[in-house]
Amino acid sequence: MLRYTLKRALSLGLSLVVASLVIFFVIEVVPGDPASFMLGLNAQPDTIAALRSELGLDVSKLERYLAWVGGMLQGDFGTSYTYRTPVTEMIGDRIWVSLPLALYALTLSTLIAFPAGVYAASRRGKPGDMAVMGATQLGIAVPNFWFAMMLVLIFAINLRWFSAGGFAGWDKGAAAAMKSLTLPAIALALPQSAILARVMRSALLDVLGEDFMRTARAKGLTRRQALMRHGLRNAMIPVLTIIGMQFSFLLAGAIIIEQVFFLPGLGRLIFQSISARDLIVVESVVMLLVFLVILVTFLVDLAYAAVDPRLKSRT
C-alpha cells in the first residue's frame, strides 16, 4: 500500500509540474499585453514600459515562470494587475465559496444517486426502475441553470424560504452561509446525481450478473444481503471514477450557477479576469483548480486501492 501511495504521489507531483508549464506558456502566447490594455489606447510607450517593469513583465519568460512557481510554493500568487491586490487574498475569499459549494453539491448528488441507483438496479425492468430511469433522463437533459431559476421561483420568490441570491458570508455563522449555498448546491447536484444514479445502476447490474453473486446466494444470503455485502463494493470502481470527475466539474464548472445566484466564487473570478487580461489571476486560479483536480484524482486512486485489493499487489 505504501509503495502504491508513493507511486501515485510521484505521478501527482509530475502532473503538477507539467500542468504549470502548460498553463504558463499557453497564457503567455495569448495576444494582448496587460500593460497596454490597462492604460488604454492613447497611452505613451514610455508609460507602458514603466508599467511593464512595475508588473514584472520586462524580464525573460523563464525568470517569470520560476518567480511565479516559487511564489506559489510559498503561498504568494502575485498581485492582480487590475485590482492591485494580492491574488492570494482574492482567491482566499472565493475558494471558501466554491469549495464548500462543490462539496455540498457532491454530497447531495451522492446522497440522491446511491439509493436511486441501488433501488433501480434491484428492481430492474419493473415500474420502479423505469420511473427512476425516466427521472434521470430528465435530470440529464435539463440544464442546471433552468433548475436554478425554477428553484429561485419556488423557494425564494413564492415560499420565501431562501434568499434568491448572494452569499451571506462565513462570519455570519455556518448555518447562514450553508443556507445561502443550498439552492445553488441543489441546482448543481440534480443533473450530477442523475448521471451518477445511472452509473450506479449499470455498475450494480454488471455485478449482479457475476458468478460470485450466485455463490453468495448459495451460501444462504438473501437478495438484499448479497447486494449490500458483495454487490455494492464491487460496483464502486466505476462510481468512484465518476465522482472524481464530477468534483472537478463542480469546482470549476459552477460558473453559470454562480452567475444565477450572484455568488462570489472562483468561476466568476476567472471569467472577470479573462475579460480584463489579468493574466496573473487567470494563471493562478487555473493552477489552483488544476491542483485540486489532480489532488482529487490522487484521492480517487487511493480509494480504488482501498476498495480493490488486486490493485495493491499489482503495483
Partner: protein, 540 residues
C-alpha cells in the same frame, strides 16, 4: 429414506419448457451424476434443487430434502437452508469468489450466516475447514485474496465454503471442467473423500462421461430436459438401453479412422530453439525489467502430411508457441521456418498462405456482421489476384460442401448456425486457400461430445482428402491420442517428451507425461464390463 428426492419436476421459463418430468433421488453418502450435453437441463436441475431459479421460472412437481418440500418453502426458510443443509460448488473457480473479500471472510460468512458465534470462533472453524480441503494455514492464511491463488486452490476455497456447515447435500455443477487434468484428479479425490467423511449426498453435474464413470454410484442421463435413462453406474454402463446413452458413450470414446502417415516427407515447419519472453511489470522504477520465459528453446519439425499433437496444462506455453508459429508474436531467440521462409512480418505471402488456423471458441471468433461468404474468403487478401465472380462462388460452394455444409449457407449470418456448424465454417475458412498445414488450437474443446466426434471425423476425412498436415493443440489427451501420429508433451515452456502417439501413451518415459496420463479419467472398457456382468450373472 432418500436424502433428496426429485419427483416429476417440470420447469419452464416463460413459454419455453426446460425440464419435463424429471425424477431421481440421492441417498446419504451417495454420489449421483447427472450427465448430458449442453441444453439437456442438467444445470437447471441443480439450480431448481437450490431454488435459485430465474424469477420467470415456473415449476411443478416435488423436490424433497428428507421430509421437507423445497418448492413450498418461503424465501426466508430457503435462505436458512442454502449453505446450511445444501452446499453448492460451481464451475468457474476464477469468478465464483468475490475478488474484494479475503478467502477467510468468505468462508466465515457461510458459517456466521447460519450459526451465532463469535468471529474468532468462526475464523478458527474456517481455518480448520480450509486445512481440510488442502489449504493449510501456514501457506494459505485466511487473509489471502482470491487473486493470489491458482484455479485449483480457488476451487478448494469454494468447496470449503460449500461444506463449512457440513450440509447433508452437496451440489457440484461441473466442478472440474475449468481445471487441468492433474488438478481435476485431486479435486475429484477431495470430493469423494468429503462425501465419505461427512456422509453427504453429492449431486454432481458433469458432461464428462469419463469423470461420471469414475466417480458416480448412480448415473442420470438427461436429454432436452428429460431423464432418458438412470441406474446404478456399473449396471447402466453394462446394459445401456436408451440409444441416446449409447450414442453419448460412443461419441466420448470416439476413435477416428486416421489414414496411415507416410514416412520420409520433407519438413514443412521447422521450429529451432524457439524462445519467447514476456516482460513483467516493473517493480522498481529504474531496476532492469524482469522477464518471464514462456517458451524455453523448443525444437521440432512437422513433415508434409503429418499429424502432430501438442499437449500440456494451462500455462505450459502451448498457446504462446502457437502464436509464434502463426507469426503473431516475435521470438527472442531461435527460429521458425515454414515452407522455406522464416516466419515473421516479412514472410512472403506465398509461404504464409500455406498455414491456416482454427481457434477454440466458435462463438466469438467470427465477425457477427459478416456473411459466411465474406468470412470464408478473407484469407484471399494474401493472394495477388484473388478469384472473382463465378470462380469465387464455385470455390465457396466447394469448400462448404467439403466440410459438410450446403452452398446456400454462404449467404447466411453466423448466428444462424450451431456451435458445431460454426466450427465447420472455421475449418472451411482455413481450407479455402488450400493450405498444407492447419493449426487446430483447442478446436474441439468447446463442443459437446457428439458434435466433437463429428468434427474429429471431418478432420480425419479432410486430412485424407487433401493430404493435410496439422498441429493439434489440446488439453484433452484422449482426443489427441485418436487424431495424431506424433505427440509433443509440453511442461513449463519445454517439450519434455515427444514420439509416436501410441508409444508415448502406452509407455510414457518422462515422469510428467506419466502424471498427465494417470490423471486423465478414462472411459471404462464397456465390452469388458458387459462380459463381466454376464459372467457374474451366469455364476449366480
Amino acid at each position: 429414506m432418500s436424502l433428496l428426492s426429485v419427483q416429476n419436476l417440470s420447469l419452464s421459463i416463460g413459454p419455453v419448457p426446460i425440464l419435463k418430468d424429471v425424477t431421481f433421488s440421492i441417498a446419504p453418502g451417495e454420489i449421483v451424476a447427472v450427465t448430458g450435453e449442453s441444453g439437456s437441463g442438467k444445470s437447471m436441475t441443480a439450480l431448481a434443487v437450490m431454488q435459485l431459479l430465474p424469477d420467470s421460472a415456473q415449476t411443478t412437481g416435488h423436490i424433497m430434502l428428507r421430509d421437507e418440500e423445497l418448492t413450498a418453502q418461503s424465501e426466508k426458510s430457503l435462505c436458512a437452508m442454502r449453505g446450511n443443509c445444501i452446499g453448492m460448488v460451481f464451475q468457474e473457480p476464477m469468478t465464483a469468489l468475490n475478488p474484494l473479500h479475503t478467502i477467510g471472510q468468505q468462508v466465515v460468512e457461510t458459517i456466521r450466516m447460519h450459526a451465532v458465534m463469535p468471529k474468532a470462533e468462526a475464523e478458527a472453524e474456517a481455518a480448520a475447514m480450509l486445512t481440510r480441503v488442502g489449504l493449510p494455514q501456514d501457506r494459505f492464511p485466511l487473509s489471502r485474496y482470491p487473486h493470489e491463488l491458482s484455479g485449483g486452490q480457488r476451487q478448494r476455497v469454494v468447496i470449503a465454503m460449500a461444506i463449512a456447515r457440513r450440509p447433508r447435500l452437496l451440489i457440484a455443477d461441473e466442478p472440474t471442467t475449468a481445471l487441468d487434468v492433474t488438478t481435476q484428479a485431486k479435486i475429484l479425490d477431495l470430493l469423494k473423500d468429503l462425501v465419505a467423511e461427512y456422509d453427504m449426498g453429492l449431486l454432481m453435474i458433469t458432461h464428462d462421461l469419463a469423470v461420471v464413470a469414475d466417480m458416480a454410484d448412480r448415473i442420470v442421463v438427461m436429454r432436452k430436459g428429460e431423464v432418458v435413462e438412470q441406474g446404478d453406474t456399473h449396471h447402466l454402463l453394462a446394459n445401456m438401453k436408451h440409444p441416446y446413452t449409447k450414442a453419448l458413450f460412443e461419441a466420448s470414446g470416439h476413435q477416428v479412422d486416421l489414414p496411415n502417415a507416410e514416412d520420409g516427407n520433407a519438413a514443412i515447419l521447422s521450429v529451432r530453439n524457439a524462445v519467447r519472453d514476456y516482460a513483467l511489470p516493473r517493480t522498481k522504477l529504474f531496476a532492469p525489467r524482469a522477464y518471464h520465459r514462456a517458451v524455453k528453446g523448443v525444437s521440432f519439425d512437422i513433415h508434409h502430411g503429418e499429424r502432430v499433437g501438442l499437449v500440456g496444462e494451462s500455462g505450459c506455453g502451448k498457446s504462446t508457441l502457437t502464436r509464434a508459429i502463426l507469426g503473431l508474436e516475435p521470438l527472442q531467440d531461435g527460429s521458425i521456418t515454414a515452407f522455406g521462409a522464416p516466419v515473421g512480418p516479412d514472410m512472403p505471402a506465398a509461404s504464409r498462405i500455406k498455414t491456416q488456423v482454427v481457434f477454440q471458441d466458435p462463438y466469438s471468433s467470427f465477425n457477427p456482421r459478416h456473411r459466411v461468404a465474406r468470412i470464408l474468403t478473407e484469407p484471399f487478401h494474401l493472394v495477388d489476384t484473388p478469384p472473382k465472380g463465378e470462380a469465387l462462388t464455385q470455390i465457396i460452394s466447394d469448400v462448404l460442401t467439403d466440410v459438410g455444409l450446403q452452398p446456400p449457407d454462404a449467404q447466411k449470418y453466423i448466428h444462424e448456425f450451431s456451435g458445431g456448424q460454426r466450427q465447420r465454417i472455421a475449418i472451411a475458412r482455413a481450407l479455402i486457400t488450400k493450405p498444407e498445414l492447419i493449426i487446430f488450437d483447442e478446436a474441439v474443446s468447446a463442443l459437446d461430445v457428439s458434435i466433437r466426434a463429428q468434427i474429429l471425423d471431418l478432420i480425419a476425412a479432410l486430412s485424407r482428402r487433401h493430404n493435410l498436415a496439422y498441429l493439434f493443440i489440446s488439453h484433452d489427451l484422449s482426443v489427441v491420442r485418436s487424431v495424431t501420429d506424433r505427440v509433443l508433451v509440453m511442461q513449463n515452456g519445454e517439450i519434455v517428451e515427444q514420439g509416436e502417439t501410441e508409444t508415448v501413451f502406452t509407455s510414457p518415459k518422462h515422469p510428467y507425461t506419466q502424471t498427465l496420463i494417470n490423471a486423465a479419467p478414462l472411459l471404462p472398457d464397456l465390452a469388458a464390463l458387459t462380459s463381466q456382468t454376464e459372467t457374474s450373472h451366469d455364476s449366480a
